[in-house]
């Protein structure tokens, strides 16, 4: 460890040590002297009237000098750095990280061109001894040029960058930029942020943090917010099964526009104009327009909705597949048609796709019924017919879904005897009550907030011992299994070990019950049913399996299920290869991607990607406002930042301690000086009469 100084120029202040001496000398030379009535006697004294100039109180001088020296050192911002780091004594006095905003909003109004010009000017004006690094950022910072003094290298890096489609996140770039400073560098550290200073870039959960003692400079390249209409989002409202139309709602931001009519909205399906109409004044005033499209029946359709006349080129894209409702068959006991009322009510809330529940008496379940069924639901009914059980077994193995809810009826024992339909061995009732406590990260539960179900008491439940290949989805507070899943052939079976009734549990009364029931049915039916729409966002990871399931693309689903390779072709033609059990993809630009399945003769599946809607909020800040917000929220210059700890270098708050020491020294010096003064005045006076 050795000592360095962030502001060594402050050492020029050490010359202040000479100030007291100079003042003393000058003051002595120019002093008017102390008045005395007459020097007639003093003049007559033959010996030297003054002593040699020697230090009369070296301790006092030492204290004062030490205090001044420490004061100077504290302002020089001392820090320790590891000797293992390169100890090149760099002569550069300034290093700059140029952080260039490439988010989607930078495409408007010539902002990107101005930003490039600013960055280029910064590089060209860079002194010979200075160094710079280049970072481009949207919601993710990316270093395109490390710290370098080579201007041509920086120029080339700058020429390679383009505006992107991502959203803005200032917190990430402010955390990233200080890492680019060389660890041994002790001069001025600057971050030049070139951006349109979108307010939405600060309104994220992360606190903007500029690690280390870094000076932040901000260049605002935004001039004004776009004045035209903006299409910010398109919402899929639902589908009309009869007409096969999908209803959409386009959200329009009128912003500062004064347009009230003759704005046209176009809907393109698979590159063909499906609808082109003028927006009504009421639609513009309301900020929304209703649309409906008919997706192709044999493939996934690419739908692009855009405002026709505007200078801000923005469209919203989504993929739509022919929508079919999920068909669920709910087995009932003869004479109790109103059983499973909670479950029916919950599933009726589903949309995109809807869940159509048909009630069938358990004894009447036949192959014809199962042919048009996606999911069979057994909600605590007696099921003793081995023929029915065998049909359900075949149904599930062929890809169907089975949801079983255990309760009063001992159906499960019979099922177990006949097949292995249940995910585990179901036992008798457990004596104690419990609550749902643990919800595993499973696609079924991903959309649920676990708090919505955790408070639900479960008074009665059955013991469930899942097999080694079964997946436990949820447990009770005592660790017992509440929900388990088993794959059977191409299908899936899920068992809930408590009934949805007031005599067993309060699950049905919890707000999370309906989403859970819908998610379970969708999960069980996804291998058979095509469903709704899909739209991804730049910078947000896409689960390809979920995307394929939403669109019902069998070829892609099978390819993903096998862990095969999927080639993703971006709108600009770049190919990305994805494979694995949980394939995910991070889109980086807006437009339609194409998902290819090599080795499978199938049409590529489109993937619609849009920009983050926050990026279309054009409210910006001034440079001063931005620095004010960042300064207020950020912790600038802290020594304990993680980044600095990694470099094993810390810029310290030691100078505060030094200031405390200086204060203490000055206090001691003051007390000592007062003591000296008091000692000097303690001589008794002469009696004139005696004289």
């Amino acid at each position: 460890m050795s000592l360095g100084f962030l502001n060594p120029l402050f050492f020029a202040g050490i010359t202040v040590l000479a100030v007291p001496v100079l003042i003393h000398l000058v003051a002595q030379r120019e002093s008017r002297g102390k008045a005395f009535p007459s020097l007639m006697f003093v003049r007559r004294i033959p010996i030297k009237r003054t002593r040699r100039r020697t230090l009369r109180d070296p301790l006092l001088l030492g204290l004062r000098s030490l205090a001044l020296t420490l004061l100077v050192v504290s302002f020089a911002s001392p820090y320790w750095h590891n000797d293992n780091t390169p100890t090149v004594n760099t002569p550069t006095a300034r290093q700059t990280v140029i952080a260039l905003d490439r988010s989607y909003s930078m495409r408007f109004d010539g902002r990107w061109e101005r930003a490039l010009a600013t960055a280029r000017r910064e590089i060209e004006d860079m002194p010979v001894s200075a160094r710079a690094a280049l970072v481009i950022f949207d919601n993710v910072p990316h270093t395109v040029a490390a710290m370098s003094g080579d201007k041509s290298h920086l120029r080339q890096a700058l020429n390679r960058v383009n505006a992107g489609y991502g959203s803005t996140d200032y917190a990430r770039v402010l955390a990233h930029a200080p890492q680019l400073f060389e660890s041994h560098f002790t001069g001025d550290r600057n971050v030049l942020l070139i951006s349109d200073l979108q307010l939405s870039g600060l309104q994220r959960n992360r606190t903007p943090r500029l690690a280390g003692p870094v000076k932040l400079e901000v260049e605002n390249v935004a001039r004004a917010a776009p004045s035209d209409l903006l299409l910010t989002h398109v919402q899929v409202l639902g589908n009309d099964v009869e007409s096969a139309r999908v209803n959409l709602m386009a959200n329009i931001d009128i912003g500062q526009s004064d347009a009230r009519s003759k704005e046209r909205l176009s809907v393109r399906v698979d590159d063909h104009v499906a609808e082109l109409r003028e927006l009504s004044e009421s639609e513009i005033s309301a900020g929304s327009a209703a649309l409906s499209v008919v997706p192709a029946s044999d493939r996934v359709s690419r739908v692009e909705i855009s405002l026709d006349r505007q200078d801000v080129a923005h469209s919203y894209r989504l993929t739509l597949a022919q929508v079919e409702p999920i068909k669920a068959t709910l087995l009932t006991t003869e004479g109790t048609p109103h059983s499973a009322i909670y479950l029916q009510q919950a599933l009726a809330l589903a949309s995109r796709p809807k869940i159509v529940v048909q009630m069938v008496a358990s004894a009447a379940l036949n192959d014809a019924t199962l042919e048009h069924t996606d999911v069979v639901i057994i909600d605590d009914v007696a099921l003793n017919d081995s023929g029915v059980i065998a049909r359900i077994d075949r149904f599930v193995n062929a890809g169907g879904g089975l949801l079983t809810i255990a309760g009063d009826h001992p159906l499960v024992g019979a099922l177990l005897l006949a097949t292995s339909l249940m995910p585990g061995e179901l036992g008798g009732e457990l004596a104690s009550a419990a609550r749902l406590t643990e919800l595993n990260p499973h696609p079924v539960l991903a959309t649920l907030r676990s708090e919505q179900l955790r408070n639900a008491p479960v008074w009665r439940r059955r013991a469930l011992r899942p097999g080694s290949e079964d997946v436990v989805l949820a447990r009770y507070s005592d660790g017992a299994v509440a929900l388990a899943e088993r794959r059977l052939g191409s299908g899936t079976s899920i068992l809930l070990s408590t009934a949805v009734s007031n005599r067993w549990s309060a699950l049905a009364l919890e707000p999370g019950f309906a989403p859970l029931a819908i998610a379970l049915v969708r999960h069980l039916a996804k291998r058979r049913s095509g469903a709704g729409a899909s739209a991804a966002t730049v910078g947000v990871t896409v689960d390809l399996e979920q995307h394929a399931a939403l669109l019902g693309t069998e070829a892609l689903l099978n390819q993903l299920a096998r862990g095969g390779v999927v080639l993703i072709e971006s709108p600009d033609g770049a190919i990305t290869k994805v494979s694995g059990s949980h394939p995910a993809f991070l889109p980086s630009e807006a437009g339609f991607y194409r998902l290819h399945t090599p080795g499978v003769a199938a049409t590529p599946v489109p993937l619609a990607v849009n920009v983050d809607p926050r990026e279309l909020q054009f409210e910006t800040l001034s440079a001063a406002q931005f620095i004010g917000r960042v300064s207020r929220d950020a912790q600038i210059g802290t020594a304990s930042s993680l980044e600095d700890a990694k470099r094993n270098t810390f810029t310290s708050t030691q100078w505060w301690y030094l200031l405390f020491v200086v204060t203490a020294l000055l206090l001691i010096e003051g007390l000592y000086a007062v003591r000296l003064m008091r000692t000097g005045k303690a001589t008794p006076k002469a009696d004139p009469q005696a004289a």
């Binding site: 002297g33 007459s38 020097l39 003093v42 004294i45 001589t683 009469q689």
Partner: protein, 294 residues
């Protein structure tokens, strides 16, 4: 006996009040008061009232105006008391709140009040390198002197011989001359001036006023001292020269005392840090004892 601190006296602006506060209660004055009879010095006419001595009626005025007036005369005095104050710049020094000049003014005011109380004729002279103010002796000049004292300020370099010569020429009657000064002059020159006045038959008193800092030289740390009169500056280390300084100033006061004694002149040294009434009463008591001995 109450003694009033000089710093308390310094807060009293009215010299009349100050003088009364200092002098009231003194038993002895500068000399023994002897009332020899009615004065012949006419003062003023006053309307006759019942009980007045008819021998004092002014019949000439009665003849002219047909009204009865009596003549009043100044009381008989037996001495002229002349306060002579040194107002050179060296007197304008104070290590505390009371300067030597202030102390001298207190003394002069007190002596004037004391003289007036004894029905003496009082006078005032101030001098630096020449005689500046001169208020001739009169029994009615007490207030004039006090007012004049209030206006006195130090201004020039001190000198002793010329002012004393001028003063000697102004004094027609034998007087009690009180010289109040810090006596920063050669003892021989002071002796010559005193000899001139003594030869004219005046009763001389020398009151030397010194600041405590002049007496003990209690300063610390090297410093530059500036002579108040000449402006000369000397860098000194008081700690180093204190002993020699004290020896010299004590030698000076002893020489003054000797010269005064040789010319039958009373000498007293006053420290401005000590109560004025205490110092004055002590001096007057001493003088009274000497007078009885004579």
């Amino acid at each position: 006996m109450r003694f009033v601190d000089p710093q308390v006296l310094a807060r009293i602006d009215n010299l009349d009040l100050l003088a009364r506060r200092v002098v009231d209660g003194f038993i002895s004055g500068l000399h023994h008061t002897v009332h020899l009879g009615v004065s012949t010095d006419f003062a003023e006419h006053r309307a006759y009232t019942a009980g007045d001595d008819v021998r004092r009626l002014d019949w000439r005025v009665y003849a002219r105006t047909d009204r009865l007036y009596v003549k009043t005369f100044e009381a008989q005095t037996n001495a002229d008391v002349v306060s002579v104050i040194d107002i050179s710049r060296s007197m304008d020094f104070a290590s505390a709140s009371v300067s030597k000049l202030d102390y001298a003014k207190f003394l002069a005011a007190s002596l004037t009040h004391l003289g007036a109380r004894q029905r003496d004729r009082v006078a005032l002279a101030t001098f630096d390198d020449d005689l500046r103010d001169w208020i001739p002796p009169s029994a009615r000049h007490r207030n004039t002197i006090l007012r004049s004292l209030e206006r006195v300020s130090a201004s020039a370099v001190g000198e002793i011989e010329l002012p004393m010569e001028r003063l000697a020429s102004l004094l027609n009657r034998r007087s009690i001359v009180v010289l109040i000064s810090d006596c920063y002059t050669a003892p021989e020159r002071l002796g010559n001036s005193l000899g001139l006045l003594a030869a004219a038959g005046h009763d001389l008193i020398v009151m030397q006023i010194l600041d405590p800092l002049e007496l003990d030289f209690e300063m610390h740390g090297e410093d530059v001292l500036e002579d108040l009169e000449s402006g000369e500056r000397l860098s000194v280390d008081p700690d180093a020269i204190r002993a020699q300084y004290l020896q010299l100033i004590r030698g000076h006061t002893r020489a003054l005392e000797t010269i005064c004694s040789e010319r039958r002149v009373d000498y007293a040294c006053f420290n401005t840090a000590l109560p004025l009434d205490h110092a004055l009463s002590r001096y007057l008591s001493q003088r009274a004892r000497l007078a009885r001995r004579r």
